[in-house]
Amino acid sequence: MQIRQTYPTQDGLARAYPAPRRGIVGAIQNWIQKEGSAYGFLSIYALLFIIFIVIPVLAAIGLSFTFFDAIQPPRFIGLTNYIALITQDDTFMKYVLANTIQFAVIVGPGGYALAFMLAWMLAQLPRLPRTIFALILYSPSMTAGVAMTVVWKALFSGDQTGYLNSFLMGLGTIREPIQWLQSPQYLMPIMIIVTLWSSMGIGFLAMLAGILEISPELYEAAAMDGMSSRWQEIFYITIPSMKPQMLFGAVMALVGTFQAGAIGVTLSGSNPTPQYAGQLIVNHIEDYGFLRYEMGYAAAVSVVLLLMVLFFSRVATRLFGN
């Protein structure tokens, strides 16, 4: 612990840096004096953080090496769950992993790129229209989930009173109403559209703020040096100048993508989804954990999910970190 700065002689000085005490009790008192209040301010958050984030993650890792059915105490079985996941779980390999990757690749980077391009366009509008557009684009993400299910169910309703069916039948594109949310071939695209629609969240706002913060002189200097293309501007000035916001946006996009996994079950109304068409890794965890009570196995899937998020955020850090 070093004193960063020395003050001119003042009354407050003596209280701010009291003379060190000796002995073990004195050392503890010194510590309380110096660092006690720092931990005091942290304590409630730290406690909740440990209880609701750290312990559950550690417990998931621990349980993933056990057989646990929620009735008998967990029994240690080593790597069996992981081996079963890779070698025996056909559903996981055939549908869940493929779906998750397809969904994550489109919604993650796709939604992220879309958020950046929209933020970039908005930044070039005057304040009032910018604020209005930002509000419109952000609004779907503020209520993602419950309230929106009402909308999607009506829009994609399987009978002729569904808006999409009625619209397409009116155009003559289709003759019979399509069961959008129950058809394996349509469920995934609808999930992707719905998630993209609500993906202009906090990361989008951060990137918008980041673009607006960049000093105009950087652009002027580049223009002097002969940079004329907008694309060059984006890649050589805009993005490098706001790397921290880009990284924040990337992490938010990533978490949002994996967190959105329940959408398939919400839309189709069943877990597993019709022919596993919309089955994502999150649904697989729920399927094994809450429907089959194979909690050890579900925990192993959770660990795989957390590792995937960690891996992708490493990639993002590589791209945008220092």
Partner: protein
């Protein structure tokens, strides 16, 4: 140079360099291409939201009209009166769910502001050995996906005897790494000199935190309030997973039961109207709060960089 620009005619004003590029003051022809792209996109993004408003006020014959009409023709408050005169299948009036949601959300938002800002103050302005390490841990936790650990979380909550209690709605939401992160970044912008001056004047730590730091970080507090509001108000999962007593559940939960039953025949006719009304009640507070606080949110977001 500036004054000559001010005097230019409108043609030069809208085609000159001044309103071109990032953060312009006014309109410029170069902005037209963005409007051409953004207006249709915004319209599409807005459709589901217009739909929520429109169907909440639709009378039954319009809700089930064929061909379906997007906009309401004869608006009525019938869906809302139906919603509040209705008992849920287990005999709880809907107003009870609404009351629970309001109370839970208010307590969560208030507690979250205090808990996160106190921790952020410590991580930003205090000097202690583990500071960097703890902030790094919180940054890793930004990537935390709560749905992944639903089961172990359930076991922890069960052990703590929090199942089926009021507090289980609140406590898990308070540990919000994004909130702490944004607050800490914002407090970093408060000059150390201000706090040191107060310390020399004899202010205690608590006074510095309460009287100086909190008032200076209002935009960040507004942002945390919005994020916590959304997390608490829209939360149906906690009621589903950790609550068995119907009278402790929230409006978001009740709405999720409505959308489930509308998939099947008879209840659908009555259900769809009140579901639309409930959806509007769920959505509207999010929108209103964000409209009021959006300026503050944007100024917080410019501190959001993750290094």
């Amino acid at each position: 140079m500036m004054s000559s620009r001010m005097n230019m005619n409108w043609y030069h004003r809208y085609t000159g360099v001044r309103n071109r590029g990032i953060n312009p003051q006014g309109f410029h022809v170069s902005q037209i291409k963005f409007y051409i792209l953004l207006v249709p996109l915004a319209a599409v993004m807005l459709l589901p939201i217009i739909f929520i408003f429109s169907s909440a006020f639709k009378p039954p014959d319009e809700l089930f009209a064929y061909p379906p009409r997007f906009l309401v023709v004869n608006p009525t408050f019938k869906n809302f009166t139906d919603l509040f005169s209705k008992l849920s299948t287990s005999g709880i009036p809907v107003s009870r769910y609404l009351f629970n949601s309001i109370l839970i959300t208010l307590v969560t938002v208030g507690a979250s502001i205090i808990v996160s800002s106190a921790a952020a103050y410590s991580l930003s302005k205090k000097r202690f050995k583990l500071k960097q390490a703890l902030f790094a841990i919180n940054n890793v936790a930004l990537m935390f996906v709560p749905v992944a650990v639903t089961i172990p979380r359930f076991l922890v909550i069960e052990r703590l005897n929090l199942l089926d209690s009021f507090w289980v709605h609140i406590l898990p939401v308070l540990a919000m790494p994004v909130g702490l992160f944004l607050l800490k970044q914002f407090i970093d912008g408060v000059p150390d000199e201000v706090l040191e001056a107060a310390q020399i004047d004899g202010a205690t730590d608590l006074e510095i935190y309460w009287r100086i730091v909190l008032p200076m970080i209002r935009p960040a507090l507004a942002t945390i309030a919005i994020l916590t509001f959304q997390a608490a108000w829209n939360n149906a999962d906690i009621s589903t997973l950790y609550i068995n007593t119907e009278s402790l559940r929230t409006l978001a939960f009740y709405l999720s039961t409505l959308t489930k039953t509308t998939a099947t025949g008879a209840t659908a006719v009555a259900g769809q109207g009140i579901a639309a009304a409930a959806a509007l009640i769920m959505f509207l507070p999010n929108l209103i709060i964000f409209i009021f606080l959006q300026g503050q949110v944007m100024s917080t977001m410019s501190h959001s960089g993750l290094k």
